[in-house]
């Protein structure tokens, strides 16, 4: 039993932390979030140069061969800096789907350009009616002599605006809620019949809704086996859920740290407000809540690495706890900062809004607790 990070992992953490401190100030991030792209191409190139885009990919296609611990380290540090660049959608969703299920050709065509920072991708799997349910797929891909015809709508596609390629989940057989019959397709976002509406979310990221109007796809756009897409999606999203929970952990640490610091400097009634017992106890509560999330995160990271049999349950538990604890921690951070906590100027509100969005990404607290309940109690 060992919860230590390797020398390499510590160096990785250190280099990301230094990058955020030196090159990714809160003001600079604000500028990026107000730009048309909602990300910095310059920063993305830097990520490529530093090798961060290669970490989760296997060595045979130019990757670093990193595992869940490495990804967790990266995402936790990105969380602390509220990094806007599309690491999750491009590397951990688009890239990992191809890595997990793509053909040799697809892997060698698309993974190296991701690693070089030349290709931005996205994964379109949510639908207007689907809420958080992954099997609720109405978008259809009908096979024809040339390949497939794609018809339907996908919503809230992370990095949809900037992605040149999008992986789309579509039904090739079965009914709306069937687990079987969902397939994955690689679509160029500039194909004929693709309409895109992009909009900004409260955490600064720009997402898109895609409308596919009889988009022609060649037979080799299929990723993985026909009709077998849901298992692939679930596997990749499970790892992504652990990754985004790591990001949440980084944010929680920052919120707790900043709040504690503020409570030591802000004076009311002639004393630092941190000297009031009621606030002390609440900050103890948020500290303990943070430690609990960290433990369940480590449990999940180890479970992924060791392919534990109960990993599905553990990850549902993790995401439910991240949602619940997130609300508690940003709630206290805002409340203890008083009026300052609800200003746009201070970073506290921005960390809070990112936690809110993380709660809705890959399923909210109740959704995961419901899945957990079903697995555990039937």
């Amino acid at each position: 039993m060992n919860f230590d990070f390797s020398e390499e992992q510590l160096m990785l953490r250190e280099s990301i932390a230094r990058f955020i401190q030196d090159d990714y100030s809160f003001d600079y991030r604000r500028e990026i979030s107000q730009s048309a792209l909602g990300m910095s191409e310059h920063i993305w190139k830097k990520f490529a140069e530093l090798g961060w885009l290669s970490i989760p990919f296997s060595e045979d296609c130019g990757g670093f061969g990193g595992g869940p611990v490495d990804i967790s380290v990266i995402m936790e540090e990105f969380g602390k800096g509220l990094v806007l660049e599309p690491y999750m959608p491009t590397v951990l969703l688009f890239g990992k789907l191809i890595d997990a299920a793509g053909s040799e050709g697809q892997r060698s065509d698309f993974i190296p350009p991701i690693i070089n920072g030349e290709l931005l991708g996205a994964f379109a799997y949510l639908e207007r009616q689907s809420r958080y349910e992954l099997s609720d797929v109405m978008t259809k891909a009908v096979s024809n002599s040339k390949g497939f015809l794609l018809e339907g709508e996908k919503v809230v596609v992370l990095n949809g605006q900037n992605a040149a390629k999008v992986i789309v989940s579509a039904r090739t057989s079965g009914d709306q809620f069937d687990r079987e019959g969902i397939s994955l397709f690689l679509v160029s976002s500039d194909s004929d019949g693709v309409e895109r509406v992009s909009y900004q979310m409260m955490d600064g990221q720009i997402v898109s809704n895609f409308r596919f109007n009889k988009v022609s796809l060649t037979a080799d756009s299929l990723i993985g086996d026909l009709g077998d897409g849901l298992k692939i999606i679930e596997g990749v999203l499970r790892a992504a859920t652990v990754a985004i929970s790591s990001e949440a952990l980084g944010i929680m640490e920052e919120l707790n740290r900043k709040t504690l610091e503020y409570s030591k400097t802000r004076e009311q009634f002639g004393s630092a407000i941190g000297s009031f017992q009621v606030l002390q106890h609440r900050m103890v509560d948020t500290f303990m809540a943070y430690e609990q999330v960290k433990s369940l995160l480590y449990r999940s990271v180890c479970g992924l690495t060791e392919t534990a049999s109960d990993i599905e349950c553990t990850v549902h538990a993790l995401k439910a706890l991240v949602g619940k604890t997130g609300k508690q921690i940003f709630g206290e951070a805002i409340q203890i900062h008083g009026g300052m906590g609800i200003t746009d100027e201070l970073d506290i509100g921005h960390y809070a809004k990112r936690l809110m969005m993380i709660n809705t990404t890959f399923g909210g607290e109740d959704h995961h607790q419901g899945k957990f309940n079903f697995l555990r109690y039937g």
């Binding site: 609720d136 009026g339 906590g341 609800i342 100027e345 809004k353 809110m356 419901g370």
Partner: protein, 393 residues
Amino acid sequence: MDTSFSNADLSFRDDVKAFFASAYDLKLQKQFESFSTYKDAVIEWQKRLYSQGWIAPNWPVEYGGTGWSSTQKFIFESERASAGIREVMPFGVGMVGPVIYTFGNEKQKEYFLPRILKSQDWWCQGYSEPGSGSDLASLKTKAESDGDNYIVNGAKIWTSFAQYADWIFCLVRTSTDGKKQAGISFLLIDMRTEGIKVNPIISIDNHHSLNEVEFVNVRVPKENLIGEENKGWTYAKSLLAHERTGIAGVADTKRALFNAQELARKEVNGGKSLLKDPLFQKRLSDIEIELLALEFTELRVLATVAAGGAPGAESSLLKIKGTEMQQAVQEIMMEIAAHYQGVLDTEYPCEVVGHEFGGAARRAYLYGRAATIYGGSNEIQKNVIAKAVLGLE
């Protein structure tokens, strides 16, 4: 013990319903929804209430109140909320008005009260300062005597709608002798006076309603002092109790919860209505159960006031529970909106990209964080209850 409505009450309810249905028309509703027309909408609506004679139900009849029983006031509030109509802007009618008619002189009453009732002046509140939040009595904005005037210097913060305001009522320091509460005065200041500067504060919901108001050598005639010099804290305290009762907003929360229930019924997850999800039901009923109780807590306080008692520490209870319930309903709305809670409806309206209520849910939830902070933070309210009710020092 009896809470049933008399026939007279029931017919009063019909009158109120009918008035709201005709006076709060669609055009006005639209105006309320856009930030650019919000100010005009508020004033227009308040003028309609004034014409009906219903702008200030809580004021004594001699100053323009309605003389309603507490049951009638309850009916009026419930009907207002269920018609989806906002409360009257609190700063004039709810806050400074009662201070003026209770502690002001005849000249002040004659000048200000009718103007408040007719919405001729937009008021804002100058209490908090950058260094004085929960510890309000430590405020430092000072008013120094200079003949017939005070010279005011300092800064107020979190001033809602100062950008629209014609007048600000301020707590200012006129003495540094003795206890800090003892050197505070209550001063009315014309916002057009030279030396006042309003600096916008953009809040977490990306909107501008809050401000910092700076005072540099602002000359205020002494006739604008309410009551006696250095007694302002006492006047303000009586006002705070008013503010805290208003903050509970039970009727509005009930309406918002009902709205949430209807939206959840239509929302589907995995082929099942969200309203049938046991976890969601637990969230919803936790709130509804508390609200059933809180509604009667509010009625009990109103009954005490009607019987001649003053709202005391009970108003702290209402403030704490009321704001907690508001936030709980706002959170439920975010839960229902799921992904669409995050949509910034700047470029496209929410219904184009997802749920039409997503943007409204986000704004209410984000700005709603302020409710447990303003009007005396909930921590301060608990101190009040600990001291005044439980006798803990």
